[in-house]
Structures are given as C-alpha cells and as structure tokens.
C-alpha cells in the first residue's frame, strides 16, 4: 500500500487506495480516514507528523483524532442537546489515546470542514466531507477553535503551531497537550534540545528584521524556483510555463528530497495573496486574530522565522548572495542530514513543513473542486515529480482518480452513519410484577434475606489480601497502559468472582473520580457460552457492540489488539470458568493470553478456574507460558472466616445464637469451606426455627437444634432411609444381591443368579415366590433409585447387577428394621 518511504522525518506519503485510479498523497495537516473496527465508519484523524520508526521499516503517523457520532457513548450523546448530524465529527481531546498509527491503517484522505456552532449543517450528500463543530473530551462537548480543525482548505496552518517558530521553545503545541504524558515527556525533551541549538538563538536575534528578509526573499523567489524546476525535473518537459500557474509548480517542488526548497513556496503564496496593508500589521494582533488572512499572515511569519535561521546560516556560508537559493537548498539539505542523525532540529522544522503541506493540499483541493482539466495537469506534474522520489504504478493512479471523483462504492451503507451500530438489539426482559414484593416482616425473614447468596454485602471480609493483590495488579496495568494475565484458582464458593467484581467496582470508582485512567471492564464466563469460540463473539460484542461469527470476531479482535489503534483504553477482561474454554488446539486460550503481550493491546486478562494446576494440567506449553506466573489461589474459608462472613452479612441483625453459628461454620469448614453452603445452611436453619415455633410473633433465636436439623437435612445421605422405606420384595432383593455376592466372591452378579437367591429367601420368609417379570420390575425400581447399578434392561435376566451402596449400609438399614 505504501509506495514511498523516506527518511526519519517524512513530509509526505503516497498511498494507493483500492478502487481508486490514482495514488493519494498523505501529508501532515491533512485529514485522513483510518481503518478501525467498523468498516463502514473508519476513524477520522488529522495527520500531525509522519515519521519512520527506529528501524526505519515501519512508517508511522502522529495524528489528532476526531470522534464520530457513533463513537460517542449513547448516554453521553445526550449532552449534545440536539440531534447529531450523520457527518458530524468531534475534535477529540480525551485523555487516553494512542496518537501513533501505522500508516498501513490509513485508508484515504477525507475533507473536514469546521462550522461555527451556530451555523446549520449544509445539506450535502458528499459522504467524504465531515463537519466539526465541537470537541469532545470523553466527558463534555466544547466549542472547538476552527484553527484546530481546518488546515487543508485554508492557506493557513493551525495557529497553535506559531509559537514553535517564533518564540521557538517556550510554548507547547496545543495538539501535544492532548497526548499522553509519555509524549509530553518526549516533547519537553525535544524542547530542551532545541534551546541548545545555536540556530534558535540566531533566529531570535534576527527576528525583528523580518521585513527585510521578506523583501529579499521576494527577489530571490523566482530564481530559486526556476532553478529548482530545472534541477528536479530535467527529463520530462514542463507542460506549462513556470510563472503562469503557480500551483502545479509548487506541487512539482513538493518532494521529500528537496525539503528546503519547498519551504520557499508557502511564503510565495502567502505573499502573493496578502494585501500590502496587512503585511504591516503587528505580529501580536496576528496571533490573536483568527481570520483567514491573519492566519495567513501568522503562518507567513512562521515561515519567515524559519527563513531567518537559514538566512543566518547562509550569511555565514562563504558563497555569494546570488546563489543564495542554491546555498539555502544545500544548507537545508545539510540540516536535513543533521536531523536524520540526531533529530535535534526536528521541532523547528515541523511547523514549516506543515506549512508546506497545508498549502500543497490546498492546491489539491482546488484541483478537486475545479475538476477535469486541472487534474490532468496535476497528473502530468506528478509524473514529473514521480521520477525523483515517488514510485507509482499507473494502476494506482486510476484508483486515486476515482477516489476524488466518484462517490463511495457503497453509499447505501453510509446513509445513516449516525445510527447506533447495532440497532437491532432488542433485549427481552422478564415482565414486571404486578404486585410489589413483600418486605421481610420479622427478624428471621430479614436475616434470611441478608443471608441469601445473591445479596451483595457491604464489604467482602476475609479476602483483604487477595483483594489488595488483584487491585494493585490491575491498577498498575491500567496506569502503565500495559497488559498482563493473572490466574486465580480456588474451589467453588471461595469468593473468587466476588472479589474480582469488588476490585472492579473500586477501580471503576477510582476512574470516575479521575484517579486512574478510564478502562473498559468485560466479563465472560465459560459456562455461559455454548462453545469456546463464542468467547470471541462475546468479547467483541462487549467491546464494540458488533455481532459477528466466531471466526470473524476472532479476526477483528486480533486486529484490534495487535495493531496500534486509536483511542485505546485499557480493557480488563475477566474470564470465569477458564477450563471450559479448552479446545483441542487451545487457540481460544492462546489468543486470550497472547493479546495482553502485544504492545498495543492494553489488555489485562484475569482468569478464574477451580483447580490450581490447570495451566500445567491442560495447557500446552506455549499457552501456559503466555499465561505467565502471576497466580493466586483462594484457600477454602476457615471456620473463623466463615463465621465472620455470616456475621458481616447479618450486620447486627440478631437472629442466631453464637454457638449455632460456630457449629455451622465449623461443620462447613471441615467439609468444603464453601461460603455458599454455609449461607444456605443458615438460611434453612432460620426456616426450621420459624416453623418450629408455634407462635409466629414470638420468634426466638436460631439455636443449636435448628442448625443441627438443617445440617442433617443437607449432609445426610438418603440411601439408608430409602432402603428402610423400600417395599418388602425390594429389601429381599437387596439381601439376595448380597447373598449372591458373598457366594460368588465378586461384587457383580447377573439378575438370573440373584433371582435364584431371591426365590430361596422368599421361601425362607414364608412369602409366595414372585415371577421373573415381577422380580425384574423390583430390580428396575431399585436401579432407578440408584441403590443398584444395572445394565440396560433389554438384556432381561442376563443383565448384571451391582450395589451402589456399601454392603454394610444395606445390612445396617435392613437390620434396624
């Protein structure tokens, strides 16, 4: 997609867009569309700077983001107070946003127009024009300064760029104010470096002489241009005289190789257009005013400042003044080299570079508006320039052509960009009750309501350490903007999910009061999906509201987490019941643990499962390795903790005797340490207590006897009672089974064998022997209760019989009879 890659700092970049005839040139200050999650609504941004990364292989762009209507949360959209225009975008000033993008993700340029907040939106069908009225900082809408937005259409550049050039170093550009603190650090570093360069000092000294410089420049301007044209495009003949049409020639100059020369032409434009009266205006007023002409002036001033530097350098250079322009070029090329080597002067050059691009883009826009003839000229000119720096294929030219001339391929889809992405989200609900719930009437009912597992307690006692660990883990990841995995294990009912939820509640609160950056919390549960791959679908739906098939969702998520994407918040993903996400290839787990390791993912994954050794047991090495060693295990509650949990839940509602509570907690702690079990037993005990007292008004405390009864109900096995309650023949059959087992010395016998014993026992007991059918029926009934384990009944008399209870239990139950 990218045809031209330059040195570290790049002034422009050529991309070819599919379906368009010509390549498109992306230059700083231009508005672009950037590939995002939603294919119909790509992200909008303004290029601030283009550069190559350390290795020089990856082209990146620093951008200022704009938010589409659909990207603003629906709840916040109300703050707008009016219907948003479908083509409306907002200047983004939120805190968390990654303003570096890979140039591969740039789709194409787009036109953005600033409108005053009072002016109505124009009735335009042009899908490629966006309108900006307000800015959005993720909390409120504000009126945005037009200078921040527009640059491409106006000959001026953002006024914010001005201080860079004039006073050089003191003020920080506005756009960088919206960046992350990391980028802030970077810019301050750059500033410090800039102060040390001698060029800046000189520039400041010479500042007052700017009028002279301008006049000098005007003199030299023509010469330099001719020379440049000669130098750059010697082979293809220039179709138009240089002086006749300024625009195309300027374009011809715009090549990365000759950065220095290009800096000349904005000044020419500016000066040409400036009425003489305005040229004499003081600089201060120019800075304050925001009209078009003054902007021109300010930008001009910026340029002049830059020129002054070079001028000083040129003066110090021992060449004659006639060759000034050439020297200037050489000088600037040297500068460029310097920049490549240490990047110190980068800050100085950026504004002028923008100046240049802003102007050339204007040319392009002009060309677009004029259509037809002009564009052909453009192509010709570009061809000429293409030999110098840009490699382009004719095919890609075709594409670019259609970009500027034809409407979008699928305009239908764009008809209502303002509507939510998933309009068909009719979530059903259980109908509301017609009669209100009855409130708890007495102290036992109150206690019962509080003891229900579902009631959310005020605090989570006994898990302070775990809470702290998880909290600090997630908090640090959110603050650092990094990712990570954590594995939490513990038997059911030890508060794993509850603790994580509590952590998230606290972090959300912290984010609300701006202590930490905002983040996105997503929860999925392995048990609440039908297939491990549904995890992708659910994550995607929670993140963006999109619906997709598992494969598509996986691809989208992969793109989202692997690419440096815009406006990225940290995502905290809770994966409950992790073991259910196991697949044979383990690709779901692999992806879940691989994403956090990506540089741009900003994903924190908290996983919960029951077994401590799950990573070692079921995960293949590459998955387990990515999960890492951040593990935490929730121990079963001890009886003291269980007691504390009940006490804290009851919260001074006096419903239990102290001993009764202790009995419950000791019993549960000895068996499983499951807090749910503990609460359920207590709840049952309150019921028993309520029913045992005849007088409902005088409900006493839940005592030992009630708790004992509840414990018996829940923990005792029903087998013995079932045997005791079985019919005579069933009991006899069980005895026959044991007798046959003893005879065979095995724990298994066929029905036929047992039946012989059964007949004998019947005679012994003085009962009429039963028929085979009847015997089979008896056997089946015992099998249905699972007192016996049977083979399928179609085997008839040949089916094998086993006992599901111990022989001792059977004998005990029968003896007690």
């Amino acid at each position: 997609m990218i045809d031209s890659v330059c040195s570290l700092c790049v002034s422009s970049l050529v991309i070819s867009v599919e379906g368009l005839p010509r390549p498109t040139i992306i230059i700083p200050e231009q508005h672009i569309l950037i590939e995002g999650d939603d294919e119909d609504n790509p992200y909008v941004a303004k290029v601030i700077r283009l550069f190559g990364d350390e290795s020089g292989e990856q082209m990146k762009a620093v951008v200022q983001w704009f938010v589409r209507v659909s990207e603003v949360p629906l709840s916040k959209l109300k703050l707008l107070g009016r219907e948003p225009h479908p083509q409306e975008i907002f200047h983004y000033q939120g805190r968390i946003c990654d303003d570096e993008v890979n140039v591969e993700s740039i789709l194409r340029p787009v036109q953005v127009k600033h409108l005053d907040s009072a002016t109505p939106f124009p009735n335009s069908d042009d899908k490629d024009t966006m309108y900006v009225k307000l800015s959005w900082d993720s909390k409120a809408f504000r009126v945005v300064d037009s200078a921040l937005v527009e640059s491409a259409c106006e000959p001026a550049s953002p006024s914010s760029q001005l201080p860079h050039a004039v006073s050089g170093v003191e003020t920080e550009s506005l756009h960088s104010a919206t960046k992350l603190s990391a980028s802030k650090c970077l810019s301050t570093k750059r500033r410090n470096l800039a102060t040390r360069t001698p060029g800046v000092c000189k520039k400041l000294e010479l500042h007052s002489k700017w009028e002279d410089v301008v006049s000098q420049l005007l003199d030299k301007e023509l010469d330099s241009k001719v020379m440049l044209a000669h130098r750059l495009s010697s082979s293809p003949p220039q179709p138009h005289p240089v002086t006749h049409r300024l625009t195309p020639i300027n374009k011809a100059h715009r090549s990365p190789v000759t950065q220095g020369t290009i800096r000349l032409k904005p000044s020419t434009i500016a000066l040409n257009r400036l009425p003489p009266s305005k040229m004499n205006r003081p600089l201060l007023s120019a800075r304050e005013n925001s009209t078009r002409s003054v902007l021109t002036l300010t930008s001009f001033k910026t340029l002049v400042a830059v020129y002054t530097i070079h001028l000083t350098k040129a003066q110090s250079h021992p060449t004659c003044p006639h060759n000034f322009a050439v020297c200037l070029i050489r000088n600037l090329l040297d500068n460029q080299q310097d920049l490549n080597s240490d990047g110190e002067d980068e800050d100085e050059f950026v504004p002028s570079q923008k100046e240049l691009n802003g102007c050339s883009e204007e040319d392009e826009d002009d060309g677009e508006e004029e259509a037809g003839l002009d564009s052909e000229e453009e192509i010709l000119v570009k061809k000429g320039r293409g030999t110098t720096a840009v490699f382009r294929t004719p095919r890609s030219k075709q594409k670019t052509h259609s970009l500027t001339r034809t409407p979008r391929k699928n305009p239908n889809k764009k008809i209502m960009p303002g509507t939510p992405r998933t309009p068909h989200q009719a979530t059903p609900s259980i109908p509301c009750r017609s009669l209100p719930t009855r409130q708890p009437a007495n102290i036992l009912e109150e206690a019962r309501a509080r003891l229900h597992v579902s009631s959310v307690p005020e605090s989570l006692p006994c898990r302070e350490q775990e809470f702290q660990d998880i909290y600090s883990f997630v908090e640090s990841k959110i603050i650092d903007g990094t990712g990570g995995c954590m594995y939490i294990s513990g038997v059911p009912g030890t508060g794993k999910t509850a603790t994580v939820h509590e952590v998230m509640r606290c972090l959300q609160h912290a984010a609300d009061v701006d202590e930490i950056p905002t983040f996105h919390f997503i929860e999925i549960n392995g048990m609440k999906m039908t297939d491990p791959h549904q995890a992708y679908v659910q994550i995607l739906q929670n993140l963006t509201g999109q619906k997709a098939t598992p494969d598509h969702a996986a691809a989208l998520l992969d793109k989202r987490f692997n690419n440096p994407a815009p406006r990225k918040q940290t995502t905290v993903l809770l994966v409950d019941e992790l073991d259910l996400l196991w697949t044979r290839k383990q690709n779901v787990m692999y992806n879940l643990f691989d994403w956090p390791t990506q540089r741009h993912a900003r994903l924190v994954v908290l996983t919960i499962a029951n077994t401590m050794d799950l990573p070692e047991r079921i995960m293949i090495n590459r998955v387990a390795s990515r999960l890492g060693l951040t593990r935490m295990s929730f121990q079963p509650y001890s009886f003291k903790q269980l007691q504390q949990i009940i006490m804290s839940r009851l919260n001074k509602v006096k419903a239990f005797e102290e001993d009764a509570l202790q009995l419950v907690s000791r019993k549960v702690a000895a068996l499983s340490g499951d807090a749910r079990r503990c609460l359920d037993i207590c709840r049952r005990a309150t019921e028993i207590c309520e029913h045992s007292t005849t007088n409902p008004s005088a409900t006493g405390l839940v005592g030992m006897s009630h708790v004992m009864e509840a414990l018996n109900e829940m923990f005792s096995s029903a087998y013995i009672t079932a045997i005791k309650c079985a019919s005579m023949q069933e009991q006899l059959f069980l005895r026959a089974v044991i007798a046959e087992f003893r005879r065979l010395g095995l724990e298994e016998a066929t029905f036929q064998q047992v039946f012989v014993q059964h007949q004998a026992l019947c005679r012994l007991e003085g009962l009429q022997p039963i028929s085979v059918s009847e015997g089979l029926a008896v056997c089946q009934r015992l099998g249905a209760c699972r007192l016996l384990l049977l083979e399928p009944s179609r085997l008839g008399v040949l089916q094998r019989v086993r006992l599901n209870v111990s022989q001792d239990d059977v004998l005990y139950a029968l003896k007690a009879d």
């Binding site: 009719a426 979530t427 059903p428 609900s429 259980i430 109908p431 509301c432 009750r433 017609s434 009669l435 209100p436 719930t437 009855r438 009912e445 229900h452 597992v453 579902s454 059911p492 048990m527 609440k528 999906m529 039908t530 297939d531 659910q538 019941e577 259910l580 749910r676 079990r677 359920d680 037993i681 019921e687 029913h691 109900e713 829940m714 096995s717 029903a718 087998y719 079932a722 309650c725 079985a726 019919s727 005579m728 023949q729 069933e730 036929q752 039946f755 009962l767 009429q768 039963i770 028929s771 085979v772 059918s773 009847e774 009934r781 249905a784 209760c785 699972r786 008839g796 008399v797 040949l798």
Partner: protein, 434 residues
C-alpha cells in the same frame, strides 16, 4: 323440595354405573390430585413455603424433590402449585416453566422451550432464533435484566432432573442455579428426580451453586395405610348424585377390602411395591369389570386382576409357541444346564433335539433343517434368545452363538400350562440331563 331431591336420587342403574366409571377412571388414569397429599404433610409445607417466598418476596431458591417412582413427587408439586396459585398475590406474579428431561434432551431444545414458555419469542418479533449461542445469550440477558423487587419470579420445574445433568457441560443447570444465587430475576428451580445420587451427578461448580435443599419422599407407611388408600380410592364421594347407590357402592367396597383373599392379594402387591401407579393399574382392571349386570366389585374380580398384573410376561409368551419351538427351548435349557450358561448355536440345539428324538420320543418326528432354522429365527424375533454381543453377522446363521433369555422356572411354568403338551416332551423337560 325434598320430594324432588328424593326423586332425583333414584337414577337408572346404567347412568349410575357410567358415572362411577367416570369418577374412578379420572382418579386412576388422569392423576387427579387429592385434596391433601397424604403422608407428605411436612414436605408439602416445606415446598409450599419455599415457593410462596419466591412468588411473593422474590427470593430465589432451588430445591430437589427426590423419591422413588410412583411415590407422589409430581403429585406433591402439583398440589403445592394448585394451592399456591389460589393466593392472588402469587397467581399474578408467578411465571412457570415446565421442562422434562425426557422431552428436552439437550440444552438447545430446553432453551427454546423456556423462551417459548416465557413468551419471550414475541419480543424479537418475527426474528427466528438463530444459533444456540444466540439463544443462550438472549435468555441470560433477559434473566439478568430483572431484579428481585421488580421482575416477576419464574418457577422452573425440571422433571427427570437427572437427565439434565447429562447435558453437555451442564450449561443449563449452571446458569439456572447461577441466576438463583445472584441478584437477577428471582427464580425458583424445582428439580424432580427419582435418583438418590443426583447430587453426585452435578459438577462441583454447579453443585456449589445449588442450595442443597432436598425434599425426600420416602414415606414408610405400612399395609394398613395401603389398605386404607385402596378403600378411599375406590369409594364414591359424598356428593354423588344418587346417594343410595353411593352408599351401596361404598359398603360393597368396605366388604371387599375386608375379604381375606382380597387382603392377601393386596398384601402381595404391597410387598412387591409401594408404588401407587401399580395400584391404580390393578384397581383399573377391577373397575373395567363393573357393568350394569354386575354393579359392584367382587373379590373374584380383584383376584383376577391381581393375577393378570403379577403373571409372567415371558412365560405367557411361551404358551403361543409351536411344539417344535418349545422343544428347541427345552433343548436350550438342557444345553444351559450342561455347559453352565455358555452360549450355544443352532447346530448344537438341533443336535440336542435329535438326541431326544432318537432316544425318547414317541410322538415327535424329525424336522428338516430349514424348518428348524425358521423356528429358531422366530424365537430370536420374540427375543426369547439373543445373539451374544460381539458375535459378528459374518458367521453363518447356524453357528451364531446365542443365549437363552429365559429362566428355568419360566420354562417349567409354561410347560405346566401348555395346552396338550405331549407327555414325552414334558418328561424330557423335567429330566435332569437331556
């Protein structure tokens, strides 16, 4: 007034009989609910309280009703629901979903059924439910949106609960129990099962979410209660139109139950099983013998019905066999005795049969091999014999190994009753060795 009443009372006997048949059949076949579940008062109270709290206070609960087949689990639940819905507060609030493990054999079907019974399908208009995953997400979303105080409580009745535990991952159970343990739409999950070990079927995280309430229906009633039940089941209600007939009928039932032979027969039934369904079957057979000419149940009727209920199915089947087939069965029995239950094939059986013909038979003649083969195949069709597992169909039919599916006692019993059985065949059957 009274005159007219007296006049009304005397209905033609045919009409009365029809009415008796109708009332009693409804009792035996349509599972008509009794006014109070007898012998299950404690369980009834427990369940009623639980469901009432769910319906009125919006408390989520889960409970299992466990008991052997025919112990009255469903009856108990139906009684509780009937009485609960008489309360206006509960009736207006409670939504019910009834599922059966035998019908909803996997979670996908169960989810569709839940959606249908909750009338949620109309929420999405004409949109047909797509995938299983969508359906689950849809339902969970629906349940999640509710809360304790504002949503109508939903009662989930899972009949044959143990079968739901065999669904993949126990997704449905996990989610139902999870909802019941979290602050979502109030639900009451009632599982009905006959398996005592049902909790062992649940996965540990599903088990942890279940409240561990179990209502066991293991009543240890004795024979006198059983007899009492028979009497009440057969008695006519007081509001029967023909009072005189009702009195006559009830007194006849009284005498029937006091009859010694009837008591013995009932005792036998009681010993065999305490299941009320089998009792209903017995009484139904008696009832069907009541006619205009015989307007009451006689002890003989009940004894006949009892015999019919207790008779051996396989032995009855033997009565319909031909002599040749019977001889083959006897030959198999001898083979079983000689080889101690090892499987046999047609050739062995035929040889055994030929030995009998040579040595003892006066009345029987040898049959052609194909005829014997046909008889053998018929026995296989009747499932009196079955091929040994794993013996492939490749082997020739004569040599395919078979096992006899009959007990010796069944063969002997059938021989006793077989019409015009040749004595030499009988003797052959009773002799120790072929």
């Amino acid at each position: 007034m009274s005159k007219r009443k007296v006049k009304d009372v005397h209905r033609p006997i045919g009409e009365c009989i029809t009415q008796v048949q109708q009332i009693l059949r409804e009792r035996f076949c349509h599972q008509q609910l009794p006014d109070r579940p007898e012998g299950l008062e404690a369980q009834y109270k427990h369940l009623l309280e639980l469901l009432r709290r769910s319906a009125i206070q919006g408390e989520s609960n889960s409970v299992l009703i466990v008991g052997p087949r025919g112990a009255g689990k469903t009856m108990l639940l139906q009684c509780v629901l009937r009485d609960l819905l008489q309360e206006k507060e509960a009736q207006k609030n409670l939504l019910q979903v009834h599922l059966n493990g035998l019908l909803q054999t996997d979670d996908r079907i169960a989810l569709k059924e839940i959606t249908r019974q909750l009338n949620l399908e109309n929420v999405v208009g004409d949109k047909v439910f797509g995938s299983f995953a969508e359906n689950l997400a849809f339902l969970l979303e629906a349940l999640k949106k509710g809360d304790r105080s504002s949503s109508r409580p939903v009662l989930f009745v899972l009949d044959e609960f143990d079968l739901f535990a065999h669904h993949k991952n126990q997704t449905l159970l996990y989610n139902l129990f999870d909802v019941s343990q979290s602050a979502q739409t109030p639900v009451a999950v009632v599982g009905v099962t006959c398996r005592l070990d049902v909790l062992e079927l649940l996965e540990k995280r599903v088990k942890s979410r279940f409240s561990h309430r179990q209502i066991h229906l293991l009543s240890s009633f004795g024979f006198s209660e059983y007899l009492q039940t028979v009497r009440t089941q057969l008695s006519l209600p007081d509001d029967f139109t023909d009072r005189g007939f009702a009195q006559d009928w009830n007194s006849s039932i009284q005498t029937l139950c006091e009859d010694k032979s009837v008591e013995e027969a009932l005792q036998r039934h009681f010993n065999s099983s305490k299941d009320f369904r089998s009792l209903h079957m017995l009484l139904m057979l008696c009832l069907s013998r009541v006619s205009v000419s015989k307007p009451s149940i006689k002890p003989a009727d009940l004894l006949d019905a009892s015999r019919l209920c207790l008779c051996d199915a396989k032995a009855n089947m033997l009565h319909g066999l031909s002599i040749l087939e019977l001889c083959l069965i006897i030959a198999m029995k001898h083979l079983n005795d000689v080889y101690e239950g090892e499987p046999f094939n047609l050739q062995m059986v035929h040889n055994e049969f030929k030995k009998f013909l040579q040595r003892k038979s006066n009345s029987m003649y040898n049959f052609e091999q194909p005829v014997v083969m046909k008889a053998f195949e018929h026995l296989q069709q009747l499932e009196l014999i079955r091929p040994v597992d794993g013996s492939s169909a490749k082997t020739q039919r004569e040599f395919q190994l078979m096992r006899l599916m009959l007990d010796h006692s069944q063969i002997m019993e059938a021989l006793q009753k077989y019409p015009q059985c040749p004595t030499d065949v009988k003797q052959w059957a009773m002799s120790a060795f072929g």
